[in-house]
């Protein structure tokens, strides 16, 4: 008898769950709850809907429907932009991008050699993608970086393999931005880890050095550092010795980013429980074993969001090199519209340049979210 009841119970352990009524689930219920829950909320919804629809329609009109994509070019190579001017702002003049995109992307790099910086940009993007894949996170990454960066250098400078030599002064546009950002962060990140560790060191000399470095660099604006690197630094060098301007700007960016990142990394180090250090010590792990296996893996995972925040910030801050006359993407865009024919079409140019920045920054942001979820799997239960 009891057997039978048990069987019945196990065959049907609980009643089949019924689906909720239409008033609590589904899009209608969601809208009723979130958009039209009262007269005030309904009013706000309607006003906002009106504003949003108007702006979207306005933008679509400007960017697509009324936009001009091409303009004729006369025999002397001057663009005939009368059609664009006739729009009087009611439509975008994308012709400026169509016409000038190569200058914006590659600056004053010799026109017929533009394929070289184009390949460089693709190499950089390829490098980012490979570095982002977990299966390449081992020693293989080092030769991959070495080979790619050498190839990039060869392509940009030339002078070998029959490539004409292009002096650094003529580089410009997107490759400059990618060079500054990639080298900047690739060197600043390891530097910041060392500085953050140094700031927590028991050795007074190292600790003071790291504190002074961080406070000094953080205390001045990046622009003044760049100025110093471009104007003052050569004064300290012996006669005849000259370090490339781009390299000086690069070093300034590395030092600046390093100081900021160091504080982010230090925050991660501080968030770790003292017990983690003690357990590693008690097992007899050496300082570097403890740091490499126990402390940094946990500390860095903890600070992925602020790290990427700083990374994205610095990717865009590389545009400040315009102040010392280096032709990065933004400067190239600005210069593209100096020509009389194109004056007044700044919005289109900045939208285009902004989109390029957005693509890179958005990719970083998305990747970091994935990475965070992936690396913090152990915290899930």
């Amino acid at each position: 008898m009891s057997d039978i009841t048990l069987n019945v119970a196990s065959a049907n352990p609980e009643a089949t769950p019924r689906s909720a009524p239409i008033t609590v689930v589904g899009p209608v219920a969601w809208m009723r709850e979130n958009l039209f829950s009262g007269w005030l909320s309904t009013a706000v919804t309607l006003v906002l809907a009106y504003v949003v629809i108007r702006s979207v329609v306005g933008f679509v009109d400007w960017a697509f429907i009324n936009a001009i994509w091409w303009v004729p070019v006369d025999a002397r190579g001057v663009a005939q932009t009368q059609a664009c001017r006739a729009l009087e702002g009611s439509g975008a003049c994308w012709a400026v991008v169509t016409e000038k995109h190569r200058f914006m992307l590659f600056g004053t790099y010799p026109y017929e050699q533009h394929w070289r910086p184009a390949i460089v940009c693709l190499l950089f993007i390829g490098l980012y993608i490979v570095s982002a894949l977990k299966r390449f996170w081992n020693w293989r990454l080092i030769p991959i970086w070495a080979v790619t960066l050498t190839a990039i250098g060869v392509l940009m400078w030339g002078g070998v393999f029959g490539l004409p030599y292009v002096p650094q002064e003529r580089w410009g546009g997107l490759p400059i931005t990618l060079i500054l950002a990639t080298f900047g962060l690739a060197f600043a990140f390891p530097l910041s880890i060392l500085v953050a560790l140094g700031r927590r060191s028991n050795l007074p000399a190292i600790k003071v050095l790291c504190v002074v470095y961080v406070e000094l660099i953080r205390g001045v604006p990046l622009i003044s550092l760049l100025f110093m690197a471009s104007v003052m630094f050569p004064l300290f060098l012996p006669e005849g010795m000259n370090i490339d301007k781009l390299l000086r700007a690069q070093i300034a960016i590395i030092l600046f980013a390093g100081a900021y990142l160091a504080e982010v990394v230090r925050a991660g180090l501080q968030s770790l429980d003292k017990g983690q250090y003690e357990a590693a010590d008690a097992m007899g792990l050496s300082y570097w074993q403890k740091t490499g296996f126990i402390i940094l893996p946990q500390a860095l995972r903890m600070v992925i969001p602020p790290l990427v925040n700083t990374f994205i910030g610095f990717f865009k801050d590389t545009s400040l090199v315009l102040i010392i006359g280096i032709f990065d993407l933004l400067t190239a865009g600005k210069t593209a519209i100096v020509e009389p024919a194109w004056q007044g079409f700044g919005v289109e140019v900045y939208v285009f340049v902004g989109l390029i920045y957005l693509v890179f920054c958005f990719a970083m942001s998305k990747y970091s979210q994935g990475l965070e979820a992936e690396l913090n799997r152990h915290r899930r239960r």
Partner: protein, 293 residues
């Protein structure tokens, strides 16, 4: 400074050569000892040089005098339970033994090696002394198995495969081999503490220190951890255990040490200490914990 400890001079004498065999058995060590020094294999070996010697150890946290002239000798194979009210210095004392805390006066010798600023001596000592913490301190980003193999691979320089086999054997002994691929956060408190014990054992320590291993556990999990410790004690491991578990103390301790205000107040067999407290302080402490239970 005068060294008053009677055995202090005899301490640096014979030390066991560490047998780096894959053998888990206690016998290997014993027979090695027998061959080299002719000691008798029994649990407490008073004729062997002591595993741990604390000789007039003093420590201050700032102006606070937390350890006062602490003298303690632990023989090889001896199980010592340290009890006392909170703030009595018992945790500080055992943390001094593997130098998670540094003492300011007196001498501490572990396995014949004196603790000093000499980092090589410290590394040697930490290899031989396992520690289990109140808050487990497992590495949350590593799996249970990786937690257990990290130190053997990098400190003992064991091949990875060998370290993994050893880890699985110890995880089996603490009865959680099936959790090896999980992360610590996925286990219960009792399971985590057993992993912590296995992790310490994977280094094949000669001495195990337990710093209130059951104090952070829910009551139903205390037993599984204590059972693991009893098993370890039965195998002849030298143990110092800070705990309030009086049942455990009675069952396994060769000696109970009662500390109060940084001093060792009384010490003796569990029966003597619990049934016949000599000092008022111990009587007060016992009455308090008995009331608490």
């Amino acid at each position: 400074m005068t060294r008053a400890g009677p055995e202090a001079g005899a301490v640096p004498a014979p030390r066991f050569t560490h047998t780096a065999t894959n053998d888990l058995g206690h016998e290997t060590k014993m027979s090695a000892a027998l061959e080299t020094d002719g000691f008798i294999a029994s649990s407490v070996r008073t004729d062997a040089p002591p595993a741990i010697v604390l000789d007039k150890v003093n420590k201050w946290f700032g102006a606070l005098h937390v350890l006062r002239d602490v003298d303690l000798q632990v023989a090889l194979g001896e199980r010592v339970v340290v009890c006392g009210p909170s703030g009595s210095g018992k945790s500080t004392m055992i943390r001094c033994i593997n130098r998670l805390e540094t003492h300011q006066e007196g001498r501490i010798l572990v396995d014949g090696i004196e603790l000093s600023d000499d980092l090589r001596a410290l590394d040697a000592i930490r290899r031989e002394v396992g520690m289990v913490f109140q808050s487990f301190n497992l590495f949350p980003h590593l799996t249970v198995l990786e937690n257990c193999t990290l130190a053997p691979i990098w400190v003992r320089k064991m091949p990875k495969k060998h370290a993994e086999e050893l880890a699985m054997e110890y995880l089996t002994r603490v009865k959680i081999p099936e959790q090896a691929k999980k992360y610590p956060g996925q286990l219960s408190g009792g399971q985590q503490q057993r992993v912590a014990i296995a992790r310490a054992l994977c280094m094949k320590p000669k001495i195990m220190l337990f710093d209130e291993p059951t104090s952070a556990l829910d009551p139903e999990m205390i037993k599984e951890v204590l059972d693991t410790m009893v098993m370890l004690a039965a195998e002849g491991m030298t143990m110092i255990c800070v705990t309030h578990e009086m049942g455990f103390a009675r069952q396994v301790a060769d000696r109970v040490v009662f500390m109060d205000r940084g001093e060792i107040v009384e010490s003796g067999t569990p029966e003597a200490v619990f049934n016949d407290p000599k000092t008022e302080r111990l009587q007060l402490f016992l009455s308090q914990i008995l009331r608490g239970h």
